[in-house]
């Protein structure tokens, strides 16, 4: 294995402490080891995904500073990247982020009607979060599932060939499961690393 080992780092700022859990730290080390020595900055995108997942679904300056400490790079190098990519959220988001595709092929198959229906059902505008903190609605560009249009992605899961009825089912199920102890979402961070 090429690479380098970054020791467990804890970041303190204004009385708050940021630190990945033991398991996450192990994963972080494995990810950093995928890139050549001295090129640990390559792990920035995966690490921002993991940080966002671990620290409540969105990023802020403190979390980004923590990531900079782990990778031994300047905070600005993290900020400029985090604000460039659309999957890093700088504002608080709900437990479930609903991203509805609005590009050409989905549009030709009725995406606008689905967005309207979701707005009505959740009683929010595009870009807003429901008052119970469960759902954030976003209209996004192509999700790469054009043959199964109209499409939306909720966290990591794709929901395809949407109809008003299927949206009812999906949203109602998520609402019921929202307060169950184990998260029903795909545990993608766990699958992030190889188990050799």
């Amino acid at each position: 294995m090429i690479g380098n080992y970054i020791q467990h780092k804890i970041y303190h700022k204004e009385g708050k402490t940021y630190s990945f859990s033991e398991t996450t730290q192990e994963r972080v080390n494995e990810i950093i080891a995928r890139y050549p020595r001295g090129k640990q900055k390559s792990a920035l995108l995966p690490l921002l995904h993991i940080a966002q997942e671990e620290f409540g679904g969105s990023l802020n300056a403190d979390i980004m500073d923590y990531v900079a400490v782990i990778l031994d790079i300047q905070p600005i190098e993290v900020y400029e990247v985090a604000t460039f990519y659309s999957q890093y959220y700088m504002d608080k988001v709900g437990k479930f982020v609903i991203e509805v595709c609005q590009t050409g092929p989905c549009l030709a198959c009725g995406a606008d009607d689905m967005i309207d229906y979701l707005k009505e059902k959740l009683n929010i505008k595009v870009g807003e979060t429901t008052t119970d903190g469960l759902f954030t609605l976003k209209a996004v560009e192509c999700l790469g599932a054009c043959g199964y249009a109209p499409v939306m992605q909720i966290n990591t899961k794709f929901h395809e060939q949407l109809t008003k009825e299927s949206i009812d089912r999906i949203i109602d199920t998520l609402r019921e499961q929202a307060y169950e102890p184990q998260n029903n979402d795909d545990k993608w961070v766990e699958k992030f690393c190889l188990r050799k």
């Binding site: 460039f84 659309s86 054009c146 899961k157």
Partner: protein
């Protein structure tokens, strides 16, 4: 039934698993390459096959590989471009989800040809659910001695890692992808130097699309010469076409290059005709970046020959009356679809995805989106249509990467072929404003 090469085994129960894939003949290309061939012989087979880049540009893969700087002592990298984000394209996702070992097998053979010890699969952030599938397949390959140190007892070693992006279309451009893989913003680099000399970490690098790399395994199995006999002229082999829009059977189809567009749209083997018995209006055959063509030009060229699914036939007529095969994202529109609205959505897409590095693209895509939204909402002015065409001309060719061209072509071609719809919007604001979501206008010209 057309010939299947990539998706030949897709129907086999459990083909996602290593043991099933191996039992049905998988990994034989790796055995053949590593034990009986030299890296140059593998490259030569790929060159003979005439395989062309399946990501959209259609550049001959063998030639791209032959440019790789093998003289320097630096490490060489192979990167699999799995940042599939061209609207209309969803073939790589299908391949990785259903037959991940085919990609891994192709990558091992390719890395062997390029004498590369490290390879990365750069996958778009929205496909996080695929990371688990790929990592599972990679673990199986490691466990069975097809990855890691001294593969199959030879002195060839290879590690493959999956690297997720985070939602940026521009990272499908190879130099932007390399920047992103280095942990930076996805700003494309000025070429030359090309990645073959200065790529990832300044080292020689080859970036290939998922489908291109997957094709390498069957090419080694059947031989480059035989592969080149499939297809039509310089469009050799088979291609995955992801068909979507208003058709009866959207999905991913493997076609032998050279079947007619008419057959592809109307035969039951493929798209199965237009949904709800409607008429075909227009097609974007290679992902949103290629010019849109009206039905009559799509089915026949101006010489009255049937148009074929090949790189050459689709491009016949240039940008006046032709288009491009591109990535194979085949978007079909029925008679009810509004071309102004569709063009507006593509412009919104490119404006959102422009990295902001070059002014013509950063500003131009924004102007395009705003002017098109204005027209679409019934607030357009008579001069707007020519203004749009003019902006397209000023973006095209004036940017570091091809995103600028990709943003310009759909607008220019839509105005060229569907000008009457744009004029209708400008001349009848009262009608346009009253139509919810702008669709289903019965244009009576």
């Amino acid at each position: 039934m057309g010939r299947k090469i990539l998706l030949e085994k897709i129907g086999i129960e459990g083909i996602q698993r290593f043991d099933v894939y191996k039992r049905s003949g998988g990994y034989s290309a790796v055995d053949k390459a590593l034990k009986a061939m030299t890296p140059n012989e593998v490259l030569e087979e790929v060159r003979k096959s005439g395989l062309r880049g399946r990501g959209g540009a259609g550049f001959p893969t063998g030639m791209k590989w032959s440019f790789l700087d093998k003289k320097s002592n630096q490490p060489r990298y192979l990167i699999c471009n799995a940042d599939e984000s061209e609207p209309g394209t969803f073939k790589d996702r299908y391949l990785m989800e259903h037959i991940p070992h085919l990609l891994i097998e192709g990558m091992i053979c390719s890395a062997f040809a390029l004498e590369s010890k490290t390879a990365y699969i750069y996958i778009r952030g929205e496909f996080k659910y695929l990371v688990g599938i790929l990592n599972k397949a990679l673990s199986e390959a490691y466990a069975n001695g097809y990855l890691g140190k001294n593969i199959l007892g030879t002195n060839f070693s290879l590690d493959i890692y999956v690297h997720p992006g985070a939602g940026a279309y521009i990272c499908g451009e190879e130099t932007a992808l390399i920047e992103s893989l280095e942990g930076k913003r996805g700003n494309p680099r000025l070429k030359p130097p090309f990645p073959a000399f200065v790529g990832l970490y300044g080292c020689p690098t080859v970036v290939n699309n998922v489908e291109t790399l997957a094709s390498v395994a069957p090419i080694l199995n059947i031989g480059g010469f035989l592969y080149a006999t499939i297809g039509n002229g310089k469009s050799t082999g088979t291609k995955l076409i992801s068909a979507c829009g208003n058709i009866n059977k959207p999905g991913v189809y493997e076609i032998e290059l050279g079947i007619s567009v008419q057959d592809f749209i109307y035969s039951d083997e493929y798209c199965g005709g237009i949904k709800n018995g409607k008429q075909l209006k227009a097609v974007v055959p290679g992902g949103s970046s290629v010019p849109v063509l009206p039905a009559h030009l799509m089915l026949k060229t101006t010489n009255d020959c049937p148009r074929l699914m090949t790189y050459e036939s689709l491009a016949e007529g240039g940008f006046e009356t032709g288009t491009m095969l591109g990535s194979g994202g085949f978007i079909v529109y029925d008679e009810d679809q509004c071309m102004v609205r569709n063009t507006m959505s593509f412009s919104r897409f490119y404006h959102h995805e422009s990295c902001g590095q070059c002014s013509p693209c950063r500003e131009g895509t924004g102007w395009q989106e705003r002017i098109l939204s204005r027209i679409e909402n019934g607030e357009g002015r008579a001069k707007d249509i020519d203004l749009l065409a003019d902006i397209s001309k000023h973006i095209e060719g004036n940017t570091i990467c091809p995103l600028g061209d990709a943003a310009a072509w759909p607008v220019a071609s839509a105005i060229k072929h569907f000008r009457k719809e744009f004029e209708f919007h400008v001349e009848h604001p009262d009608i346009v404003k009253n139509i919810r979501h702008g669709n289903i206008i019965n244009y009576k010209f």
